[in-house]
Amino acid sequence: MIESTGEGQAIDEQEALKRLEQRHDASDRYYAAWWLGHERSRHPRTLPLLKAALGELFETTSPPNDDCRALSLNVLRALAHLDGSEAETEILACLTHSDQQIREEAARTAAAASLHTAIAPLCASLSNTSTHNDRLLEAQIEALGELAKPSETIIGLLTPFTDSEKPLIRSAANRALLQITDDSSWSNAFQALVQHPSAQVRRGVLLDIGAVGWLPSLTMIQTSAVENSIKLIALRGLAEHPRGLGAAGVSEQEACNLVLSAMDALL
């Protein structure tokens, strides 16, 4: 399959649109969907074609075949880089799809597209997600952190996950609650999490702090035992959307200069 498509070859926007539109070569469509998202395509045909491709997932009631499933995942990833709200109906339907990975990717896409209509299905779905399905739980919790406004319901729903036995679920839950409430007590857990013996956990925690943009954790990021490339991604979040300025006791301009100088030192 791969040989016939020339995957990895340089293609242009027209070619990507053509490949996505045809329906006989699945791997060509898969690559084209990825390409359009990666290149942040703004062609007027891009979103309608991606939306239609995602709609194919609902043409039958039976579980999707491998090609259809793989294409849908790449379309969801592409929509996370573009204006996903154009495909709101399809993304919302994916949030409750029978396939776990589609639900997971749809949660990320809904968050990236700021789809507030996704909050209710995410809440319903999160209550039913198995505690063994770490990746799906993380994606749903993180999406709610991006989208939800503070309310007793949402805080009540997320709080139990801060006691999860899985460190990355604890981190995701604290991240989401910090984003929703701006209450610095939710940042306390990061101190212990960032010392976790697993490097993968430490990386995930740094990325969570970066996603919040939590400025009081600047020193924690700098001194953590994580490679500089991850620290730099986390610090980008602090520079681009800083929060907790009051708790850190600095102005927005001071915060920006502090973060940029920390980044310069880590290059």
Partner: protein, 210 residues
């Protein structure tokens, strides 16, 4: 007791370490030896995919200074770009002009973004402060590569290029108009990543360019 003994012992301790804590202690002892003969082992250690350990080993390589540069250059690991990024970082910090070719090549062609980032940072420091001066030709090539890096596909490489150009222009190349126009472009809406625009705006402010 011969002068070799602490080195031999530290090398053996690194080889015999079975936990990451032991490995950290043994590597710290090796770094304290401050001996050029420790270089191969320090380079081996930075390939273990343990950032705290690699950071320690790199600090040891940097402490050895310019005399360490040729051996680091000869032993860049083509298979492991994590290790290569750390080694290039050491070269960049040491700032020896013998690393110029390697840094230019790494900044322009390495497939690892973290390697291009570290090399770009190094180019921004070559010939500055206590680093040995570059020839005019070397300096021009260094600036050309920094300018090119402003259009890298990875935001962090463009960020590093901005920092590098600011350093080089600050150090005496006010006449380098291509560099200033590149920074201006990174500060404009043509640059899609906000943190790169923020850093470029800071560079323009420091260079007092409108």
């Amino acid at each position: 007791m011969s002068a070799e003994q602490p080195l031999t012992e530290a090398l053996r301790a690194v080889d015999q370490a079975t936990t990451s804590d032991q490995l950290m202690k043994a590597t710290a002892a090796l770094v304290r030896c401050c001996d050029l003969k420790a270089i191969p082992k320090l380079l081996e250690v930075i390939g273990y995919n343990n950032p705290a350990l690699a950071g320690l080993a790199v600090s040891g390589l940097i402490a050895l200074g310019r005399k360490a540069a040729p051996e680091i250059l000869e032993n860049l690991d083509p298979q492991n770009y994590g290790a290569r990024a750390w080694a290039v970082k050491a070269l960049a910090e040491i700032g020896d002009s013998c690393a110029l070719e390697t840094l230019i090549n790494a900044a322009e062609n390495d497939i690892g973004p973290s390697v291009r980032r570290a090399a770009t940072k190094g180019l921004g420091r070559l010939g500055i402060a206590d680093h040995p001066a570059l020839t005019t030709d070397e300096h021009q090539r260094c600036l050309r590569t920094l300018s090119k890096a402003c259009t890298d596909s990875e935001w962090i490489v463009r960020y590093a290029a901005c920092v590098g150009l600011e350093n080089q222009i600050q150090a005496g190349d006010q006449g380098f108009s291509e560099g200033t126009s590149r920074i201006k472009r990174l500060a404009s809406s043509n640059e899609p990543v906000k943190v790169v625009r923020l850093r470029a705006a800071l560079a323009l402010e420091r260079l007092q360019i409108q």
